[in-house]
């Protein structure tokens, strides 16, 4: 892809950024009153050089991290590594995107998930639980609604029935 027309000297001078747009951006600063056409050309060309410089540094970061796509994180890292750029740009860049997945899945509210009991034992609260059927449509509500409630005594949860012993 040819970006700019090459003169005999080999220096590309055709600007990429439109001067009018650059001037409008400069004019947003109320202190900047007037700019000569040559100074405007230099600001526009400097911006091009700066973006090429930043793209190169960001690409280096992406290559280091074995990535084929330059993203915001790579640009932020490139900015951090270059002191003059960091001074004016780091705080102005968009904040790093938050990770979409949490570190560990959050447990649903309700009964805490306890470790399974040792072999040969069963939990006393199983007696109060509704039997889990394969087909949820077949599950019928208990006759006495009080039976569905967990026991009020918290110690009862921890209690376990003794291991059956073969008396013979």
């Amino acid at each position: 892809m040819v970006m700019a027309e090459e003169e005999e000297s080999g220096v590309s001078i055709q600007l990429e950024f439109p001067k009018g747009r650059v001037k409008k951006i400069m004019a947003l600063d109320k202190d900047v009153k007037r700019v000569s056409s040559e100074a405007l050309f230099l600001v526009s060309r400097s911006t091009e050089l700066f973006l090429q410089f930043l793209a190169e540094k960001s690409a280096q970061v992406a290559i280091e991290k074995k990535r084929k796509t330059v993203n915001l994180e790579h640009i932020r890292e490139a900015v951090k590594r270059h002191q003059p750029t960091r001074d004016f740009l780091l705080d102005e860049l968009p904040p790093p995107s938050q990770p979409t997945k949490p570190d560990r899945p959050t447990q649903p509210a309700g009964r805490p998930k306890l470790d399974p009991p040792p072999r040969g034992t069963r939990r006393i609260d199983l007696f109060f639980r509704k039997p889990e059927l394969d087909d949820p449509a077949q599950a019928q509500p208990p006759e006495n609604p009080a039976q569905a409630q967990p026991p009020e005594n918290p110690d009862q949860d921890q209690a376990q029935s003794p291991v059956p012993v073969d008396e013979s």
């Binding site: 892809m1 100074a39 050089l49 084929k68 796509t69 993203n71 790579h74 004016f88 740009l89």
Partner: protein, 151 residues
């Protein structure tokens, strides 16, 4: 932010991708959407930063118009001296190009009176229409409202 306040995205993509294509040996590196947005924002902030620094230098030297020297000093001050050499070369070419344009414009203005006389001789009705494009050759900077004097 309005579109007038940001750099054109298509040009931004072209500038960045051109550089990225030269950075990797094994294959072309692409840019994500948020990356491109960050480049655009970086360019805009750099323009503000450089022009504000150049403006401060301009005020120190008690001048009204930001000129070439102010921009070069601003680049030194903002610690981007590596840009100065390529910019000086670009500026030389820019000046040559403008000088060539001025020669073409002045030649065109010399030829204009002859054409006018010819047209006026043919018919007075058509002669009025020939003056329509008389003041169009003011140079490329006039339409952008940029002051051309360097002081």
């Amino acid at each position: 932010m309005s579109e007038a306040e940001e750099l054109p995205r298509s040009i931004m993509r072209r500038v960045v991708k051109y550089k990225l294509s030269r950075c990797s040996e094994d294959g072309e590196i692409s840019v994500s959407k948020d990356g491109l947005l960050a480049f655009s924002e970086s360019g805009r902030i750099f323009i503000h930063y450089l022009s504000a620094t150049a403006n401060d230098i301009c005020k120190e030297s008690k001048r009204q118009i930001i000129n070439v020297e102010n921009v070069f000093k601003a680049l030194e001050e903002t610690e981007f001296p590596e840009f100065v050499c390529p910019l000086k070369a670009s500026l030389e070419e820019f000046r040559k190009k403008n000088a060539r344009k001025k020669v073409v414009v002045s030649k065109g203005k010399e030829d204009e009176p002859k054409k006018k006389r010819k047209l006026e001789g043919e018919s007075s009705d058509k002669g009025e229409g020939s003056e329509k494009g008389e003041d169009n050759d003011k140079g490329e900077d006039s339409d952008k409202g940029v002051s051309g004097d360097d002081q």
